[in-house]
């Protein structure tokens, strides 16, 4: 504006025309740039509408293969998996710990994912506890917190059932990490 007045064109009509030209230029430029920006944003946000579709019971092991000695054993979770465009049939998609107490027919299941930051929790056979290699969270064999621990909650237990044939089925789910409540991811 200052430049225009310097040039001495102080007529109100000129100013109004100048303003109109500027407004039109900005409007046209904005309109022209809008479609690629909008399409880009639209596509970038695509992952937000994807869900894991979790919550299915997946066969994990045979009851006979889970020793009734109160010690957790690691089993891979094998299921069909979709990764964007690829469909994988019967692939290891994660791991769980199965534990059966002496003489018991029920199986307790703990997810191997650390509730603190999502690392893979390992079993320390010597000291009979679970340890996370990332930030030293430690858990009892039942999954309870061993203080002091960076983990805000005990290890995540998963629903489990044993079918007639003795197959152990686990409801495979992932949970949000780093918070006190156990909330399943969608």
């Amino acid at each position: 504006m200052a430049e225009e007045t310097e040039k001495g064109s102080s007529l109100a009509t000129d100013q109004r025309r100048g303003f109109l030209t500027k407004a039109l230029a900005v409007a046209c430029g904005g309109l022209a740039t809008f479609p690629p920006l909008a399409a880009a944003l639209w596509a970038v946000l695509d992952p937000l509408r994807r869900t894991a579709g979790a919550g299915n019971f997946v066969p994990v092991a045979d009851l006979n293969n889970v020793p009734a000695d109160g010690l957790p054993r690691q089993f891979p979770v094998i299921a069909d998996r979709v990764d964007a465009w690829t469909g994988f049939a019967a692939e290891p998609i994660g791991a769980v710990y199965l534990k059966r107490d002496k003489g018991s027919e029920t199986v307790e299941v703990l997810s191997a994912t650390c509730p603190h930051a999502g690392c893979f929790v390992e079993m320390d056979r010597e000291s009979k506890c679970f340890r996370c290699p990332c930030h030293n969270s430690a858990f009892t064999l039942d999954g309870g917190i061993v203080a002091p621990s960076p983990s805000p909650r005990p290890m995540d237990s998963l629903e489990c059932k044993v079918d007639k044939g003795g197959g152990v089925l686990v409801k495979w789910q992932n949970f949000y990490t780093g918070i006190e409540e156990k909330v399943a991811r969608p």
């Binding site: 430049e3 100048g18 030209t21 500027k22 039109l24 230029a25 900005v26 409007a27 046209c28 430029g29 309109l31 022209a32 740039t33 479609p35 690629p36 920006l37 909008a38 399409a39 880009a40 639209w42 596509a43 970038v44 946000l45 695509d46 509408r49 979709v82 964007a84 465009w85 690829t86 469909g87 994988f88 049939a89």
Partner: protein, 692 residues
């Protein structure tokens, strides 16, 4: 925030603070002077529409950067994932079709804008001193843009990109001395694959755009240094870049974007108005079938802006490698060389005129060559082939033998000349027809690939090509054409061309083999000895034909309901739809088939103890297993051990060698003949009746 309005002193205070903040920022960056310099550039003679092309090109490039970066975020460059990830962008991601559409169409718009910008610069003589270097920078930018167009075309790894790139890289191999090494470097090895993609992608999204940005900065810096070259003579007072020229530039950008969106959205609008179901993935940029080096692809053409080069190469046809070298490298190289010399030639007024004429000639020539290429390809759409029936007939009669042709034309030179001319035209139609058929096939292949990739099971880790190679609908027709069609027809009897096709066949028509309609025809006295069944085979005088024509037509011994029951039972045996026949009817048919006074007198079925060998086994007749068996070895005891009529044993290697067809290929043929292939849930209704 409270709803009460702030007092005027408060707002003044706030404005003062904002100005202070701006001052603070300006002190540290000098942004005001920068903005001032950028916006208040003097435009000699005032803003004009002819100056917009450079700005639209920058705008187009920015659009490509924005859309390209997001495409990059979803693209995966490898032979097993490139097509698949582009499919995902186009068909599964929200807005992916629009994103890719804008990127694809804007790339083409850029080529057009380049031509316009170049034309404006040359016609206005804007390359003259002191702007020579900037003109050269512009030419380098043009080559970089064309390079990006060329490399981008391959990235979806579909048939058209793959084959076009093969041609382009093979041409690079013609460069003397370094050609073969150059080609191998570009391709990333001796053959096309992962590293072709990773290298092209690195060129397309890394090296070329980075170089382009560098040259663009230089181009714009020099442009600002020398100022805008005004169109002579200057008659109007000078204007300012902002807002006068910016408005014109912005309107031009908006127009470019409107055209781009129009190209993407108009087909969608047309589909909507026609009431077709709207699949957004079908709009924007096309995605062909996945690249397959084992399948011929006669529809291969470069993108339209390189069609002129493709056509230009045809000028040198018959010159061998020298001709290609001339057409693909020497002539385009010389043309570019002349363009680089333009600023020097332009010092003389005659030189300037030459430059203008040369540029227009090159552009018109390219336009003409493009039109010629399109004309050749689509000639059959408007040419009347029937007008050349006599040429076709004469060629068929003589087999194209020059001596016989001359004799047929009475050794009359003028007649021969006329014939040669018409023969040339006739062959042009044939060529165009072949191209159009290939385009249609390519389209069908692409649609099928997309249909398969969209299955709920998704694409296997081995990639979409593996999916297509295991698909009966994709492979069946090819295998049939290659191995079966020299004898067997596969044509809908109701189709217009059925009669002509059947007349040429020398074995049964296998259209909907095993289904109700096929079985009905087999047991129809009017059809069994016709060309669709045994008419053109050694079985024409066999027992089956006489049984159907004599016994079955006698309604005393074979009541119509009984024949119908057998038809239904045959379809049931094949495991194909029986048209909702009652279980009792099927059971009745099966009893008749087993009855040793009826079908069972020749055919083994159920527990009828008729010996195999005289007539084909009816157990599982027409089923997948039965079809695999007869294709593998028709001379097997179950089929025609003594009366096989010319059919090769496709699954048995001669003298222990490799069989003509693998077990997998025979399975694909059997599945295709039985109409057993994946159908998307939405189209079940239209295809369910296929075997009824």
């Amino acid at each position: 925030m409270s709803a009460t309005s702030s007092s005027s002193s408060e707002s003044q205070q706030r404005a003062g603070m904002l100005a202070q903040l701006a001052d603070w920022f300006d002190d540290r960056t000098g942004y005001r002077a920068f903005v001032h310099e950028a916006l208040y550039e003097r435009v000699p003679g005032g803003a004009r529409w002819r100056y917009v092309w450079g700005s639209t090109l920058v705008f187009a490039f920015m659009t490509q950067v924005i859309t390209g970066l997001v495409l990059w975020a979803s693209y995966s460059a490898s032979a097993q994932t490139a097509w698949e990830s582009v499919f995902y962008i186009q068909y599964e991601m929200t807005g992916g079709w629009l994103l890719r559409g804008i990127h694809h169409v804007m790339a083409q718009a850029m080529v057009v804008l380049l031509a316009l910008h170049l034309m404006q610069v040359v016609i206005d003589g804007a390359y003259r001193a002191p702007r020579e270097v900037n003109f050269w920078l512009g030419l380098i930018l043009m080559m970089l843009v064309l390079g990006m167009a060329l490399t981008g075309y391959l990235l979806p790894w579909d048939q058209k990109g793959y084959w076009a790139t093969r041609v382009a890289t093979n041409l690079a191999g013609l460069v003397p001395l370094v050609g073969p090494s150059l080609q191998q470097l570009v391709v990333g090895g001796p053959d096309y694959g992962h590293h072709t993609l990773t290298r092209f992608f690195a060129l397309h999204a890394g090296f070329l755009p980075a170089t382009l940005v560098l040259f663009l900065v230089l181009h714009l810096t020099l442009f600002r240094k020398h100022g805008l070259h005004a169109k002579q003579p200057v008659t109007k007072p000078d204007g300012l870049f902002w807002p006068d020229q910016v408005l014109k530039d912005a309107v031009a950008m908006l127009a470019v974007m409107a055209v781009v969106l129009g190209v993407i959205l108009l087909p969608a609008l047309r589909a909507m108005l026609a009431g077709e179901p709207l699949v957004t993935g079908h709009f924007g940029a096309e995605l062909g079938a996945p690249a397959d080096p084992s399948q011929p692809y006669a529809a291969a053409r470069p993108e339209w802006y390189f069609l002129f080069l493709f056509q230009f190469l045809k000028v040198f046809e018959g010159w061998g490698a020298t001709g290609e070298f001339l057409g693909a490298i020497i002539v385009p190289g010389l043309t570019l060389g002349v363009m680089f010399l333009m600023p020097i030639l332009g010092r003389w007024s005659l030189g300037h005129r030459f430059n203008v004429v040369f540029t227009l000639a090159v552009l018109c020539g390219a336009g003409l060559l493009t039109a010629m290429a399109l004309h050749e390809d689509y000639y059959a759409l408007w040419a009347d082939r029937s007008a050349y029936a006599d040429v076709e007939q004469l060629l068929n009669e003589t087999g194209g033998d020059p001596q016989k042709l001359a004799m047929a034309l009475g050794n009359d030179a003028s007649k021969q000349a006329v014939f040669e001319k018409r023969r040339h035209e006739y062959e042009a139609i044939r060529k165009s027809e072949a191209f159009l058929v290939a385009v249609k096939q390519a389209k069908a292949d692409a649609e099928r690939a997309i249909e398969l990739a969209g299955r709920p099971e998704k694409i296997p880790p081995t990639g979409a090509l593996a999916l297509i190679r295991q698909d009966p609908l994709s492979q069946g027709p090819r295998l049939f054409a290659q191995h079966c069609a020299s004898c067997h027809a596969h044509v809908d009897p109701a189709a217009a061309e059925a009669e002509a096709v059947l007349a040429k066949s020398s074995a049964a028509n296998l259209f909907e083999f095993g289904g109700l309609s096929w079985a009905r025809g087999l047991l129809d006295p009017a059809q069994v000895a016709g060309p669709a069944y045994f008419g053109n085979t050694a079985h024409k005088d066999g027992d089956m034909v006489s049984f159907v024509t004599d016994d079955l037509s006698d309604t005393e011994t074979w009541k119509p309901a009984e024949v119908k029951a057998v038809i239904v039972a045959l379809a049931a045996e094949a495991g194909l739809p029986t048209g909702g026949a009652a279980a009792g009817q099927v059971k009745k048919g099966r009893e008749l088939m087993a009855d040793t006074d009826r079908c069972g007198s020749c055919h083994a079925y159920g527990d009828n103890e008729t010996e195999l060998g005289y007539a084909p086994d009816l157990n599982g007749w027409g089923s997948r297993e039965w079809l695999v068996g007869i294709i593998t070895d028709p001379t097997h005891q179950r089929f025609y051990p003594d009366t096989n009529d010319r059919m090769p044993s496709f699954g048995v290697g001669r003298d222990g060698g490799t069989p003509t067809l693998s077990a997998a290929e025979i399975g694909l043929l059997a599945d295709w003949l039985r109409g057993s292939w994946y159908r998307p849930a939405a189209s079940v209704h239209e295809t369910a009746g296929v075997n009824q």
